[in-house]
């Protein structure tokens, strides 16, 4: 949830004029301050990450392994259940990020304009971000019940026959993605609000003076100048969406059948079934997908920003 993106990391900071004076071995900034963090990080993050590349080529029981080459990966791309998880991961990531970008932007524009009850609206939209995914998942599983659920009952009142949501294979994944958006749109909104508020008000005044409609100033001022916010929202929601597990596990467990499985839930299922090598191969696939999408994308989004 709370990961952040390249912009801050690379943000230019005033460069220190001189390096600290080096009296041999007596710097005021000793390297051993890195040590405790480095030990934990290496042992529990770096080593497992490197080990995953090795063990993904094996049949593995935690105590013992046999090298089986690319078999795990072949299985991953051949077995329909696993392949479905792969395509679903892309769909889920795309649907959630697009909706969060669009809705977050619209809500932020609305909440930075002169309307009443902005404080209330902002709080209520943001609050679900802090709720537990499992709790939200369970509540919405019940609300989305095809016959007894409140959502379909409400739709019935206005004369629409609602879909079977989580029980319908065609709808299950989308339903979970919609709940994800419900829970996460508040974060996108506050990020956009921060971005829009930082745009100098003179630009809008000047545009208004020149007779630009609010529509025009949105597309020509707000949208381009809120680009860092857009980059953050896209990257955050993609990182979250591609590895998403909690909500899917709470709502459908990948079902019906395996129609709403994503890679993260496949990894868990294979782990439970004792196929540790295959599960680890899933991890490697997820790693490759996430880096292959996030790295070029963040480079692209940041490059554009520099050109302005």
């Amino acid at each position: 949830m709370t990961v952040n993106t390249a912009p801050t990391v690379s943000a230019a900071r005033p460069r220190q004029a001189v390096a600290p004076k080096r009296r041999k071995g007596k710097s005021a900034y000793p390297y051993w301050f890195y040590l405790p963090a480095a030990v934990v990080y290496t042992a529990l993050f770096l080593i497992p990450t490197f080990a995953s590349f090795f063990f993904s080529f094996t049949r593995w029981t935690l105590t013992d392994f046999t090298f089986i080459g690319l078999d795990n990966f072949v299985q991953f791309f051949q077995e329909p259940a696993l392949l479905k998880g792969l395509t679903n991961t892309f769909i889920y990531g795309a649907v959630t990020s697009v909706l969060k970008v669009v809705l977050g932007m619209l809500l932020a524009v609305l909440l930075t304009s002169q309307i009443i009850a902005r404080g209330y609206l902002r709080s209520v939209i943001f609050f679900p971000v802090l709720l537990s995914s499992i709790g939200v998942g369970i509540v919405f599983t019940i609300l989305m019940d095809p016959s007894k659920g409140m959502i379909n009952k409400a739709l019935e009142v206005i004369g629409i026959e609602g879909p079977a949501w989580l029980v319908d294979p065609a709808w299950a994944l989308v339903s979970v993605a919609l709940v994800d958006v419900w829970k996460g749109v508040g974060l996108a909104t506050v990020i956009y609000i921060a971005g829009i508020v930082s745009i100098p008000a003179e630009y809008f005044e000047a545009a208004k003076m020149d007779g630009a409609s609010s529509f025009k100033s949105f597309f020509n001022i707000t949208l381009p100048l809120a680009r860092p916010a857009t980059a953050t929202v896209i990257i955050l929601s993609l990182i979250g969406g591609l590895r998403s597990f909690d909500l899917i596990w709470a709502m459908t467990k990948g079902g019906p059948g395996f129609t709403s499985d994503v890679i993260a839930s496949v990894i868990f299922k294979q782990y439970q079934a004792g196929f540790y090598g295959l599960s680890t191969a899933g991890n490697v696939v997820l790693f490759l997908i996430v880096t292959a999408i996030i790295l070029p994308l963040s480079m692209f989004l940041n490059r554009k920003e520099v050109e302005q």
Partner: protein
Amino acid sequence: MTTALKRYGLGALAIAVTIVVFIIPLAFMALTAVKDRREAAKLDFSWPTTFNFLENFQDVLSARKFMLVTAFINSTILTVVSVTILVVLAAMVAWILQRRRSRWNGVANFLILSGLIIPPAVVPTIWVLQSMGLFKTLPGLILIEVAFGLSFCVMLFRAFIASIPKELDEAAVIDGCGPVRLFFRVIFPLLRSVIITVIVVQSVHIFNDFQNPLYFLPGDANATVQLTLFNFQSQFTTSYNLLFMNILLITIPPFIMYLFFNRQIVAGMTAGAVKG
């Protein structure tokens, strides 16, 4: 005229939509939690005829040998200890990283970025934990949360430390302050506002964490609150009131955090949106 229409009309529309989309599901949860079992089973949005708050509360707590109580204790320990460790370790790293320019900076930056992007490899992590004898133990899970949270915290700290003048360090050094004292007595207290942000954001995150306890701390005796909820889901299919009471109870800590630290939470989560 049109501005007034926009101000009130759009506002009223937005309020109506948020009530339907956000308030009703939350109210549904709260109302179902205080209904009796038969009424809750109807799953409709109605005012409860009888309020069974205390009864349901007691039933949820005592279910499965007070598992929820154990879980609350576990989650509290997990959250408090791992956030404390995170704050100290991340601040130490961020301070050196920001102050001392060296060839290690590139490596460190790369590792921080990796930590933000790369999904942790599950089974190999279990393998490492097992070889250290920490698998299925609370200390093991605490270290996991620390390892996975470091990148984000270092980033927040570093951006803040950049705004502390370096002259302060130099003055302290001239007065004969060693690095440890310099850091814990001079720098650390100055980080107060960013520390609060880190504490609030990370504790909500770790308290709500489901995936890591599921993998690294299985077993009823060690359950954290998110896991109890998941375990109760199958057990309580006939008593939705208790299930929802459980959800309500675990929603309260983040809610309290939000009431008091609204500003810090938003600041921590939107860091990076605006380019400085």
